[in-house]
């Protein structure tokens, strides 16, 4: 137990925290776009899984990480279009169709992996890139400025998403169709198109989240690689109050708990592994409880828009 508080371990915990926050950030920021526009995409975990496999497989075959990333984004886009078709055009119950998308991604990624790869293989993933000068700052330098491209991307995504949502015309349209689609429609905003766009942005980012696991952090693929991280990412959107900054806070908190849990196992702290693994899930429920009843929730969240009903 003493070992947990040494400086080396603290650096390790913080390093893992930054790395573990990466997939949460991509997926949760993406989901923030979708939910701001009124669509709850619960298939995030399925998108992450299939995209993680796609990125892994393409990288394994071509050796080109950027092609792998592109494949992940393309898979995300394709699955986003399916989700949008079903939940926006066909106005299905979003919870149910999201679960369908999750099961499809879970089963398909496992099937493809077993047929096309078969055994556990690793790829050479994105390597850490040191940022000159900044990375030489003692203590925080190696933690913050010696990471892979996808990690930097995740943290840069936060201000970018904030600017898009809060300061641009497009962000306003997302909010309008999420708050009051009928009013937005009467002002000439194409509700269906805006919702498609938001869902697809979210799904592409979910795809990149999957890629960040399989070709940047773990550099391998296995069945159910995400183990529910996509669902936690959706919960983070509620936790973060539909704001990219809030999502960042939530993602850091969660990855901190995860990272401490991992390091406790590494250091052999006398706590059963199964109990330690429970912690992030319990924390998610507590977080959902604490942030429930929030007034900030987009008013038309989870509600399909039907012109003929208004």
């Amino acid at each position: 137990m003493k070992g947990l508080f040494s400086l080396n371990v603290l650096t390790g915990v913080l390093n893992s925290m930054i790395a573990l926050a990466t997939p949460f950030l991509y997926a949760a920021i993406g989901e923030t776009f979708a939910q701001t526009a009124g669509v709850v995409n619960l298939g995030v975990d399925g998108i992450m899984l299939l995209a993680a496999f796609g990125a892994f497989f393409v990288t394994l075959m071509t050796g080109n990480l950027w092609l792998g990333l592109l494949a992940a984004a393309a898979i995300g886009l394709a699955m986003g279009l399916i989700m949008a078709l079903i939940s926006v055009t066909l106005k299905a119950e979003q919870g149910v169709s999201g679960i369908g998308l999750y099961m499809f991604g879970l089963g398909m990624s496992s099937l493809l992996f077993k047929v096309l790869v078969g055994t556990v293989k690793t790829v050479q993933g994105f390597q850490p890139v040191s940022i000159p000068i900044l990375s030489t700052i003692p203590f925080i330098g190696p933690i913050l400025f010696n990471n892979s491209v996808l990690v930097y991307g995740a943290f840069l995504l936060v201000p970018l998403a904030w600017v898009v949502l809060e300061k641009t015309n497009l962000g306003l349209k997302f909010k309008a169709v999420g708050q009051n689609p009928a009013a937005a429609d009467s002002l000439g905003i194409n509700v269906v198109a805006i919702r498609y766009l938001a869902v697809c942005i979210g799904a592409i980012l979910a795809g990149i989240a999957g890629a960040s696991l399989s070709i940047s952090l773990l550099n391998l693929f296995q069945d159910d690689l995400t183990s529910g991280q996509g669902f936690i990412a959706v919960a983070l959107v509620y936790f973060g109050g539909w704001s990219p900054i809030g999502v960042l806070g939530g993602a850091l908190l969660f990855s901190a708990v995860n990272s401490i849990q991992l390091w406790m196992q590494v250091l052999g702290v006398n706590l059963p592994a199964s109990v330690a693994v429970m912690l992030p899930y319990i924390l998610t429920i507590v977080a959902l409880m604490m942030t429930a009843n929030r007034a900030r929730q987009p008013a038309a969240l989870n509600k399909p828009f039907d012109r003929s009903e208004n």
């Binding site: 619960l42 399925g46 399916i82 078709l85 079903i86 066909l90 106005k91 299905a92 119950e93 919870g95 149910v96 169709s97 999201g98 679960i99 369908g100 998308l101 999750y102 099961m103 499809f104 991604g105 879970l106 089963g107 398909m108 496992s110 099937l111 493809l112 077993k114 047929v115 096309l116 069945d223 183990s227 529910g228 669902f231 936690i232 959706v234 919960a235 509620y238 059963p272 199964s274 109990v275 693994v277 429970m278 899930y281 319990i282 998610t284 429920i285 959902l288 409880m289 429930a292 009843n293 989870n302």
Partner: protein
Amino acid sequence: MRPSARSLNESERYCVRSLIFIDMPETRAKLLQSLSPRVGQNVKTGESRARLGNLMPSATTTGKPLRKGAPIDWTKVVLNGAMPLAGVLAALAIAGIFLALLKVDPLTAYKSLVDGALGSTFGLTQTLVKATPLLLVGLGICIAFRANVINIGAEGQIIMGALAGAALPLSMPGLPGFVLVPLACIGGFAAGAFWGFIPGILKARLRVNEILSTIMMNAIALQFMNFLLQGPLMDPENVRRGTFLAQSARLPKEVWLPRLVPQTLLHSGLFIAIILAVVVYIFLWRTTIGYQIRAVGLSPDASGYAGIDVRANIALSMTLAGGFAGLAGVIEVIGVQHRLLEGLTSGYGFTGIVAALLGGLHPIGLIPASVVFGGLLVGADKMQRAVQIPSSLVTAILGMIVLFVSGAGIWAKSWAAKRLAGRPQGTEATK
């Protein structure tokens, strides 16, 4: 989630009140009819009861059959059966295309799948063995869905039920079967119900999204079982031999459910499940509580103003859903495995959702649906062994079925609405 009644503003409240009690006879008739065919009939025939009594089934009428004399609407039955079937076939077709792209012959795969499920006595009985937990899980999902609550937590609830169903008989050996079996069943039901109650009350009280909370509850239950199987519940025999397999000791023979066909795993739990399907049907369509649950699902606002406790019904539906999943866990333990072991749920929690959706969220429709999916699971195992096609294919197919069925729902609805609109007024009430 829809807002509960208290969050309505004054003008909306007025609308709801007037809708139910005062004005707009046509709209009111439609609303009431959607809630209960019988009440709809009464409205049609002008048999007006007291204001509140119009919406609430009174004690004297609830026990009577609803459709006495009404002809069965065969087009509706065929539609309800054909739509899901089309969804299944479409999913199989698309999966076949994927298989062909992977250079796997889809016909070989599907032949092996059908052969595994139906080709032998063992396959057939196995299909029913797997249909049993699916039916039980699906019953719970139906109840929750009827209250507009989506229970994704069946996996965790099955685990909790199985834990209780294994731990209780193990802790009191020597008791006769007629005590142990009900004890295990009640204990498992209670454990599953508790696991459903938590997300239920969180949704009812704090409006916590039940899909997310139940998924987290699944992960927690899984880790809890792992913890117990690697510690307190681990088979002492395993520990002595040093194998440390993560499974419990074998349950006392008294608690085993009788086998129906020799040399197979088919057990009497199947009958329990079928009887409960009828019980759930009666519960949902013939009792006041079942009626309230459905009313809350159709319109929380209107039912709130009719004096129904919306929150209590949301929590109750989730608790019952958990209970049925827990019972599925017990039956799996005392009927098939005779011990607690890892991987016991075999994805029944998720497959049960798909079965419930395909069964039209109706306890009776669920019976054939769970047999179909039981067969799909059995066939998938055979396919994996015989022609080396991973059984995860079935998970992907299940996902596609959910997507198709949820996407096609709106077409079915608009079709039914058009059909209803085209009918002469008098026949509407018999629907």
